[in-house]
Symmetry: C2
Subunit: 416 residues, 2 copies
C-alpha cells in the first residue's frame, strides 16, 4: 500500500475514535462552520472549478457532463445550505433503538454507533464532496473522499475548505481527508484497505462499479444502477398515469430513478397508449414497443429482449402490454435492477399485491419513480442509493451510516 494511503488510513482511524464519542453540539458547530466557510471562500472554489471546466472543454466532455461539473454562486449556496440542513437533523448516534429485560434481569439494548471509517469513490458532481463529508461528520464517521479526475480541482478546494473549518472547531484532521490522486492503481489500493476502512461506497458509472466488484476486499455498499418500470394497471386513472409516465421518463432522463420501461395492462392499453405515446413523442422520447403496443400505436420501433434489460439513461422508453398484474410483476422481477418500481392503479388489491410482490429498494403507488432520492425522502442529503439488500437499501441518509452495538446492564449475572 502506498505510504500516503497508510498515513491517511491511520489518521482516519484515530479521528474515528475521537468522533465516536464527540458531542452532538461539537459536531453541529463544525457543520455550521463548514457551511460558513463554503460561503466565505466561494471565490477559491469558483477559481478551482474554472480550471476543471477548461480542462473539461479541452477534453471535449459532453455539455451534459460539463453542466454537472459547473459550479455557480447558486450551486455553492445550495451546497452550504445542504450542510446546514444536515446540522439541523437529529443526531442518530447514541440512540437506543430497542431495550428489553431478560428473565435473569439482564437489560439488553441496541445503541446506534458510527460505522468508523467510510471511503467513497465518486464520479458525480463536486457537491458530493460536501454532502458526503457532512453526513459522515454528523454520524461520527471519518471519511476518505476520492472524487473523479474531471472534478479534482473543485473537489480539492471544497474538501480543504471544509476540513479546515472542521479542524478549527476541534475536529481532528483525519476526520475529512481528500485522496488527492487520479491514479487508478491508488483507487484499487483504496478498495483493499481492510485494516483502515469499514465500508466503501462507489458512486458513479458502470466502469467504477465493475472495478469495485472485481477488486474490493473491504465491505461495499453498491449504489445506483436503475432499470426502473412504471406499470399502468387496468384500473388506472388515465390522466394521472399519463402525467406520471411523462414525469418519470422526461423530467431528468439521465438519472437512475428515471423510468426505462412502461408496462400497460391490455384492458387499458387501447385507451391509454395512443394519447400517452403521442405526449411522450412530443417530448422527444423515442419509443420501442412490443407487438401489441405496435398494433395499437403506429410508427413505433420494435423492442427486443435487450430493450427490456437496458438502463437507457436517455430519452428512450420501452413499452410492453401485459395480460395481467402478475405478468407485470414477473417482468419487473426478471428484468428490473431492484431500484424503483411504480404502479398506477385505483384498485386496492392491485396496490397491495404490487407493493408486496415487487422486489425492489423502493416501490411506489401512484407517484413518479423520480422521487427515489435522499432529499425527496426527507433525509437532508444522501450518500447514494443502495441497490443491495445488505445493511442499506434505497436512498442512504444518516441512519444508513451507522451500526449498532449491544449494551448490556447486569448486576453480577453469570451463565449457568
Amino acid at each position: 500500500m502506498k505510504p500516503y494511503l497508510v498515513e491517511m488510513g491511520r489518521k482516519a482511524r484515530e479521528a474515528a475514535r475521537f468522533l465516536a464519542t464527540a458531542s452532538t453540539s461539537q459536531k453541529n458547530r463544525a457543520l455550521l462552520a463548514m457551511a460558513k466557510a463554503l460561503r466565505e471562500r466561494k471565490d477559491e472554489i469558483l477559481a478551482a472549478n474554472l480550471i476543471d471546466m477548461e480542462n473539461g472543454r479541452e477534453q471535449r466532455l459532453t455539455s451534459a457532463l460539463l453542466d454537472r461539473l459547473l459550479l455557480t454562486d447558486a450551486r455553492i449556496e445550495d451546497m452550504a445550505a445542504g450542510v446546514e440542513s444536515v446540522a439541523a437533523l437529529p443526531d442518530p448516534i447514541g440512540e437506543v433503538v430497542k431495550m428489553w429485560r431478560r428473565p435473569n434481569g439482564l437489560e439488553i439494548g441496541r445503541m446506534r454507533v458510527p460505522l468508523g471509517v467510510i471511503g467513497i469513490i465518486y464520479e458525480s458532481r463536486p457537491n458530493v464532496t460536501a454532502d458526503a463529508a457532512s453526513l459522515c461528520l454528523k454520524t461520527g464517521n471519518a471519511i476518505l473522499l476520492r472524487g473523479g479526475e474531471e472534478a479534482i480541482n473543485s473537489n480539492r478546494a471544497i474538501a480543504s475548505i471544509i476540513a479546515e473549518a472542521a479542524k478549527e472547531c476541534g475536529i481532528p484532521e483525519g476526520a475529512i481527508q481528500f485522496v488527492d490522486s487520479v491514479s487508478r492503481e491508488d483507487a484499487i489500493e483504496l478498495m483493499r484497505m481492510n485494516q483502515f476502512l469499514d465500508v466503501l461506497i462507489p458512486r458513479g458509472g458502470k466502469g467504477l462499479k465493475e472495478a469495485v466488484q472485481a477488486n474490493a476486499t473491504v465491505p461495499v455498499i453498491m449504489t445506483g444502477m436503475g432499470n426502473c418500470h412504471t406499470y399502468v394497471d387496468e384500473s388506472a386513472d388515465i390522466e394521472m398515469a399519463t402525467r406520471i409516465i411523462i414525469n418519470a421518463k422526461t423530467q431528468r432522463p439521465s438519472v437512475c430513478n428515471a423510468t426505462e420501461t412502461l408496462l400497460v395492462h391490455e384492458k387499458i392499453a387501447r385507451e391509454f397508449l395512443p394519447k400517452a405515446c403521442a405526449e411522450l413523442v412530443a417530448k422527444g422520447v423515442e419509443l420501442r414497443g412490443c407487438e401489441k403496443t405496435r398494433s395499437i400505436v403506429a410508427g413505433i420501433k420494435p423492442a427486443t429482449e435487450e430493450d427490456w434489460e437496458t438502463e437507457y439513461l436517455d430519452l428512450i422508453l420501452a413499452v410492453r402490454v401485459v395480460g395481467s398484474l402478475e405478468e407485470a410483476i414477473d417482468h419487473i422481477n426478471r428484468y428490473g435492477t431492484m431500484h424503483t418500481e411504480a404502479i398506477v392503479t385505483r384498485d386496492y388489491d392491485s396496490a397491495r399485491r404490487f407493493l408486496a410482490a415487487v422486489d425492489a429498494a423502493c416501490v411506489f403507488v401512484n407517484a413518479s419513480t423520480r422521487f427515489t432520492d435522499g432529499f425527496q425522502f426527507g433525509f437532508g442529503a444522501e450518500m447514494g442509493i443502495s441497490t443491495q439488500k445488505l445493511h442499506a437499501r434505497g436512498p442512504m441518509g444518516l441512519e444508513e451510516l451507522t451500526s449498532t452495538k449491544f449494551i448490556v446492564y447486569g448486576s453480577g449475572q453469570i451463565r449457568e
Copy 2:
C-alpha cells in the same frame, strides 16, 4: 460453476420468490411439522450420526470435537424444541419499521422483507442445520446449507427430514437445500454465486474465515473471532468480579465469548488478584501476567505481546494491571476483536464511559462475557455472532436475516 450448484441456485431463487409473500401461518405450520419430523425420525438421525462418530474416531478427532459431533435423544429433542421456539417468535416480515409523510403528501415507509437466498458454510455442531434452516424459513429466506465433512451424514439426514416436512406443508423444495459435497472447490464456487446468493455466512474456524475473505465475491457477514476482555474497575465489588471472571473464563473456554484477558485497575489489584488468581488456578487455568501482576501474585508466567493478541479458546488467561479506565479502554480497542467486552464496576461514570468508548459488538456492565449468544439474548436461535459493523453486529436472530424496502403511497405526485 458446477451444474448441480446452478440448479440449486435456480431452485433457491424460485423458492425465495414464493417465500417472500408466504403467510406467517404457513411458515409456522411448516416449522412445527419440521420439529415433529425431527422427533419422529430421530432414529434415522442417530444412525447417520453413528457413521460420523465412527469416522471421527477413525480420524482421531479430539474428544472435544467428538462431543460437539455427538447427537443423542436429548440433543435431538433440543433441536426440535429450538425449531418450535422459532415458530413461536413474531414474524418480522411485513413489519413497517417507520412511516412518515412528506410535505407533498407522499407517505413513505420502510417495510421488513426477506434478504432472499442465504448461504451458510458451517463447521459447527449438526444442530446448526436445523437452527439455520428454521430461522431462514421464518424470515422467508431460502437457504443453501453447506456443513462440515465431519458431520456430513448427520447434516444430510437432518436437512432431508426437515426439507421433506416443509415440502408437505407446501413450502417449495428450493427453500431448504443441502449442498451434499465436501469438496473445497465446490465451497469456493458457493462463495462466488453472486447471481443466486444474497449473502453468505461462514460459521467456523479461522481457516474457513480466511478462505471466505480470500475467495468470496458475494456479500458476506463475518462471524465469531472473539478476543474478549473483562476489566475490573477500581470500584468493583471484589466478590462479584471474581465470580464473573471465573465464569467468563472457565464455564466453557472453547467458545468465542469466553474471556481471554483480564484487565485490573492498579488500585484494586493487590486486593483482588491474589484471591481471584488462586481460584482461577484451582479451576485449572494457566495464567500469563504483566510485570505488575507478577509482582503481586507469585508463580505466574510472563505475558508477551502475543498473549494480548491471542484468542486462546482454552484454559489460559492473560492478566494485565492498568493505571486507569482509559488505559483499559485503549488496550481493548487495540487488541480486541470487537466481539464482547465487560467492565465490573460500582461507579456510574465508569460504566457509562466504558459503554460509550469501547468499540465492540456487545459491551457488558457487571455480567459475564459468556452471555453473548442469540438464545441468551432472547432471539430463540442464532445464525452466528457477527463481528462486522455492516448490516448485523453481534448475535444474529430473525431481524438480522431481513432487509427493508421503502413503500411509498402517492396520489399522483410528480417531481417538479
